[in-house]
Amino acid sequence: MKKIIEASGINKFFGAKQALKNISFSVNEGEMFGFIGPDGAGKTTLFRIITTLLLPDEGEMKVMGLNCLTDYKELRRNIGYMPGRFSLYQDLSVEENLNFYATVFGTTVKENYDLIYDIYSHIEPFKNRLAGKLSGGMKQKLALSCALIHKPALLVLDEPTTGVDAVSRSEFWEMLKKLRQHNITIIASTPYMDEAMRCDRVALIQEGKILTIEQPKKIRAGFSKKLFRVKASQKYKLINALKSYQGINTAFPFGDSVHITFKENEFNDSIYEHLKKMGITDVNIEETSAGIEDRFLELM
């Protein structure tokens, strides 16, 4: 399988701060590859190196077989980049923005219209509206259309779903899925763990380091212990009570329940007694399967 991105030993410093620590990974052609991690993990820095906007201090980065340092001119023609703030011209209309990017990349809207049709059709009725006046979801679709208009082989999306409501986020990933049939390789970064499930492979990244690279399913399966879900009416009391239990390994709040693991990795009845002593009687415990976030917490 052809490798679209090959990174090895990438280090990047901003002054004394090390933003990327020995990053190595590869992305295959046609893959949907996700980078999941919180703010400050290094996602944007890494993407800027991939798109040749920054140079690494150490290490090698090859994109589409080309060297990021020397062949950046050719690379830039074949990458579609959607940076964190969408980078649209606020005082140009939807249509004007699209035309501009098409022209800059030496093509026309007509030429690759079929590629962006599924996305652009949502906002085409608003084509004369100024980009600054669009909602978050619409800006997202326009920015994506602009990034795709020159039919790039690699699509780089930096936090495309941040600041956008849950419905638009979901729609966005659906649109990306449809792009796969054109054999475009897509890399995207996001702080939302649940979006990891939509990728072929995912790299968990935290504080400049890659914690693991794997298929989402396997990441979940990689959770090393038995996971239990605990529910009770008084959440705060429950968490404190669980944490004070001797046999507990980890206890993390997860929405309406608490996910726990045991030191001995086996469920121990004595926990009910302990909780009763702490004043919790209506507790409900059952074993559950780990999600990506559980694994992330484990790896951190």
Partner: protein, 258 residues
Amino acid sequence: MTRENSVLKRNKKMKNNPVISVKNLVKKFGSFTANENLNFEVYEGEIFGFLGANGAGKTTAIRILTGLSELTSGEVTVAGFNAKKQPEQIKKNIGYMCQKFSLYEDMTVKENIILYGGIYGMRMKLIRERMHSLLERLNFEEYRDSLIADLPLGLKQKLAFSVAILHEPRIVFLDEPTSGVDPVTRRQFWEMIYETADRGITVFVTTHYMEEAEYCDRVSIMSEGKIVALDTPAELKKQYQVGSMDEVFIKIARPGIN
């Protein structure tokens, strides 16, 4: 006792004691109606989640509740003060943490705490006392003289929250406090919120993470200027027959989608 019952029971006790009371709140900007006829109450010690898409009118409503903006019509009472007539009193009695900017980056932890303590009229002795216990609780003692700019984001958020409640207000407003923060810190933050609510401080929080809605006692969902849902997370999930708040949101926002 089921969860809903315990919450309802607490609510009954507090029903005479709403920390926030909003009746027929309307906010217009020219001909554009940002908030249309909002009605809700928030009770003492509650964790109240204020959800909704960008542009739904959340920020507008919060600005009115915190005394930063004037309402067009309606009656709003916060911490016992009328929003129209006594906005300055409101500001003195609430805590506020806005997204990602609360502390001065070029000052140290200690300097920030003293500054905010002073702003809220706390005496030096009290400030020092609270600062000491705050730093101890967060395990921050070693960062006392560090610049805010040098702290990782997670620590900054936790510190900003502690500073927001330094003066022990009746209610604290948190605007997307855990945006972009790593999962561990996010959970620690919510544990801090729980502890705060336990002490009797009401917490009014907005968030984009639907999962965090589950941590709240009650949530309201805003859409296009109106409140379209207001209940406990469990009740909402039951009502829409789904398993997560994410799905509740999708069902409300786009009724046609599966």
